[in-house]
């Protein structure tokens, strides 16, 4: 697909606020944890910080091969709440309600969704 073709597609079906050419997208995808979080949300659409932390903790054990502890998961919750989720919310990739802990994926172009999937699946 040519660059023009891509632009036209997006103009015909504008989905969400973030597109392939936005620098924010690449900043968001610069961390393994954020890529995985977005990947989980592609399937779940909406989740909570608690649930996301559980899945990310379990995912981590598949690489270390050791039993994860409640402390491992607490560290992930802290990193999500104080770093990753605010950054993703600022990039208009997710909405994050601090009070309820609800996290939802913002509507994204298929091209963005594909990029998120590929960025994770290429690591596996």
């Amino acid at each position: 697909m040519t660059e023009n073709g891509l632009r036209e597609t997006q103009e015909e079906e504008p989905v969400g606020k973030i597109h392939l050419e936005d620098d924010d997208l690449y900043r968001a995808l610069a961390s393994t944890r954020r890529r995985r979080l977005l990947y989980i949300l592609l399937v779940e659409e909406e989740s909570t910080v608690q649930k996301l932390a559980t899945v990310l903790t379990g995912w981590g054990t598949t690489e270390t091969g050791r039993m994860a502890t409640p402390e491992d998961r607490r560290d992930i919750i802290t990193a999500l709440e104080h770093h990753h989720l605010p950054l993703l919310a600022e990039s208009d990739l997710v909405t994050y309600d601090r009070q309820s802990g609800t996290v939802a994926l913002c509507p994204v172009d298929q091209a963005v969704a594909d990029l998120i999937s590929r960025s994770v699946e290429s690591e596996q």
């Binding site: 990947y39 399937v43 598949t62």
Partner: protein, 234 residues
């Protein structure tokens, strides 16, 4: 008599969640005979390898990959010695493995489990063995075995549920009256000073057979022994 204990074992607040892709890991069926509720969550095909999240009373206790869990489940299951040193997830996992729950077991199957416990007590040769029988006729096929245990080991053997005045004399075996035991089949060995050898069985007769559990959890074995001691009406 054992109803509170049976209810407690069935519902100990443990939850495993298996995150798996298209491929069936077989984990739910491997835990079918343990007191743990196992549910599945779907992982996308291109996502991580399958893993299991372990929860106790709705709190995250640990997570580990399915292939590591499978290695742990291969017999012989090596249990950590000092539970205090073990991370929470392993603690819950081994507690789950300590208890085997069953429904609709017949007498022959229960005799098999009982034999395991009696064999262990025989090998250790010391300590206390407490057994309850629903009535005298249930003890009769076991008399020779108990005669052997009493004469060939230093076990302290107590039999509950049969009127001592009506019981067959077995030198070395003490009969205790035991109230409200007519529905239960129980047997417990304290390990003879070695906690890792303690084991017990509790079953309740229902219309379709026996429901219950057997356990290698020293704390639970202690509770079963204490329940038997407390039901001695004499």
């Amino acid at each position: 008599m054992f109803d509170p204990l049976l209810a407690e074992v069935q519902n100990r607040g443990r939850q495993f969640t298996v995150y798996e892709g298209e491929e069936d890991t077989g984990i739910p069926s491997q835990f079918a005979t343990h007191a743990v509720s196992v549910r599945r969550e779907k992982l996308p095909a291109g996502g991580p390898a399958p893993f299991v999240v372990i929860e106790q009373d709705d709190e995250f206790a640990g997570a580990l990959p399915v292939d590591e869990l499978q290695k742990l489940l291969e017999p012989p299951i090596v249990r950590p010695g000092e539970r205090e040193d073990v991370s929470e997830g392993f603690g819950v996992l081994f507690d789950v493995l300590d208890d085997t729950v069953f429904t609709a077991m017949n007498r022959r199957q229960l005799l098999g489990v009982s034999r395991e416990i009696e064999d262990r007590a025989t090998r250790v040769g010391t300590g206390t063995l407490r057994a309850s029988f629903q009535n005298r006729s249930r003890l009769e096929p076991q008399i020779e075995l108990y005669r052997y245990l009493a004469s060939h080991t230093d076990l302290d053997i107590h039999i509950y549920g049969i009127d001592p005045d009506d019981a067959p004399a077995i030198p070395g075996v003490t009969y205790q009256r035991g109230e409200q035991l007519d529905r239960y089949w129980s047997l417990a060995f304290d390990g003879g000073g070695d906690e890792s050898q303690s084991c017990a069985l509790v079953a309740r007769e229902q219309s379709g057979g026996y429901d219950g559990f057997w356990t290698y959890d020293p704390g639970l074995v202690e509770e079963i022994l204490a329940t038997l001691v407390s039901c001695d009406g004499s």
